[in-house]
């Protein structure tokens, strides 16, 4: 019966464009999907290894820039550019994973912030490569064989496929030996080490997969908005991802998706519900209330377990 529910959900997502009232709602759904990929990628680190990366926008931005530059300057087509975006972001994740693997907790947070800060300044100042603060307008829409995926509906399915793929990768990873090793690390690192879990190896692996997925999100973002500028590295993007993961429920497979849908729709709903003066204030207050009353997130709180119950013990304080 769990399988039935899953298929129902997939069917609902596939049919979504049919009953959404306007392209604007489809736009919100596409953004939710892109952020769903990003939130799932952050969740691999935050939820399963317990390491908070506040530089995740860097991998997102690297993916966006890689894809945009390859299609604009070297006339690559979308698919190889997408693959390159994933690869380059993954490579950046490898570097950060190797460098930071000795750091935990707050120290890891600060290395990742600093990394994102440096990358962001490079994107602003390396004019010859990135076109600097003016950004890269005119990123082409993707094509699939003879078809252009320019329309929103087509792009929605592309994003949906990416969400599905990312979900499957996460599930596969989490339910394998690797996932159990990661959770063991999160819960008690010395103990895990003592029974032979190779800490370095698994942390780097998690960082690479996580960064590669963020790069995927970045590429999808670039070809959807068709404009990339240094603002993709904005700290608020990282904060948004963290909000989605923590509010949805970190360390659960569905949590980041729930968070992504909720926190993409919320600012848009606030546009409709409140005049502009109150929108950001309300956003801040709602965030405080949500985290305060559901500190472990929506999905765990509802008692929703996936096939195997996930441990919802608090992450060890460091």
């Amino acid at each position: 019966m769990t399988r039935t529910g899953g298929w129902l959900l997939v069917a609902g997502a596939l049919a979504l464009p049919l009953w959404l009232p306007s392209p604007y709602h489809l736009h919100v759904a596409i953004m939710a999907g892109i952020f769903g990929v990003l939130a799932m990628s952050l969740n691999l680190l935050l939820g399963y290894t317990g390491q908070l990366s506040l530089g995740h926008a860097a991998f997102f931005g690297i993916g966006a820039y890689t894809s945009a530059l390859l299609t604009l300057k070297l006339d690559w087509s979308f698919w190889p550019a997408l693959a390159a975006a994933v690869a380059v972001a993954g490579a950046a994740g490898f570097v950060i994973g190797r460098l930071a693997l000795k750091l935990r907790g707050a120290y890891f947070v600060l290395v990742t912030i600093s990394f994102a800060g440096v990358i962001s300044l490079v994107s602003v100042n390396w004019i010859e490569l990135t076109n600097g603060p003016l950004g890269l307008p005119g990123v082409p829409a993707p094509e699939l064989g003879p078809w252009s995926l320019r329309t929103k509906t087509a792009y929605y399915y592309l994003v949906l496929a990416a969400v599905g793929l990312s979900y499957l990768v996460c599930r596969r990873l989490v339910r394998s030996r690797i996932g159990r090793a990661l959770v063991a690390l999160r819960e008690n690192e010395p103990l895990a080490e003592s029974v032979g879990v190779d800490v370095t190896h698994y942390l780097v692996l998690a960082a690479v997969v996580s960064a590669a997925m963020a790069g995927l999100g970045g590429s999808l973002y670039a070809h959807y908005t068709r404009f990339v500028s240094p603002e993709v590295f904005l700290f608020t993007y990282t904060v948004t991802m963290v909000i989605m993961v923590v509010a949805g429920g970190k360390g659960t497979l569905a949590g980041p998706l729930v968070g992504a849908v909720l926190f993409t729709a919320l600012p848009e709903a606030l546009r409709a519900a409140a005049s502009w003066q109150w929108q950001m204030l309300a956003y801040g207050v709602l965030l405080v209330l949500l985290v305060f009353f559901l500190p472990r997130g929506i999905v765990p709180r509802l008692g929703v377990a996936l096939r195997r119950p996930e441990p919802v013990t608090p992450t060890a304080r460091r």
């Binding site: 930071a100 950001m280 801040g284």
Partner: protein, 290 residues
Amino acid sequence: MAELLQHLLNGLVLGGTYALLGIGLTLIFGLMNVVNFAHGEFYALGAYVSFAALALAGSDFFVALLVAIVAGAALGWLCEVALLRPLRNESIDTTMLVMIGVGIAMQNAELLGWGGVAKSIPHPFPTAPLVLGPVAIAPLRLFVLVLAAGLIAAAWLLIQKTKLGRAMRATFQDRDTAALMGVSIGRIHAATFAFGSGLAAAAGALLGPIFLVYPSMGDLASLKAFSVVILGGLGNLPGATLGGLLLGIAEELGAGYISSGYRDAIGFVIIILVLLFRPSGLFARQERIA
């Protein structure tokens, strides 16, 4: 040569402001393990309170400073008791998110209340610079530097010499043992957060007249404060002071001799290097807390 001396003096003055921002945060971060991204908003709060007291109520510069400290400490205390205390056993990202939410709400409440236009805080000092041989410095900056040094010294004395300070240090070193010895952890946390927030507000009241007061002023302040904390080591007041000075001078020289576009990158690169090679901070003596 004159250029280099001026750069060094600028860096020293700038570093003093960074140190002032960092010391409050290093206590909160080190003792409570809260990644407080609202720290810069307490800085902005201090600046606005001081502006209100000076420009609207016509009070004295030092009275305004005191009012700002009290307001910052009171709101900090409230935040701890109402929001952080119930979440004390949650993970670091949960409390961080709560404080991010508080920060967003505070910043936008300021925007709503004061409007986005920058305010300038009046001060009684002459604007003509003091010329010392080849270099120049504004009297106000010199005054703020001295006052900041005084505040940092006072904070250090409070932690080293008072009973509250001793309890704070004990909690920092080993929370469970401190609790067993009869230290009320709840009270210490509330006091620490109020103290750190009061210091941030003091920084706002002091730096407001040098710079300008506007709702988003806290963003940069938060980031710089975190850099200072990492350079100096968690919970380490002398370390934060030195870290602030180092960051100020490094940025200044980097912008002067390397590239002003990469100015902020210099701070980030130093942080990355420090974390990779001396993860407990440049000036740390004690082991980092686990």
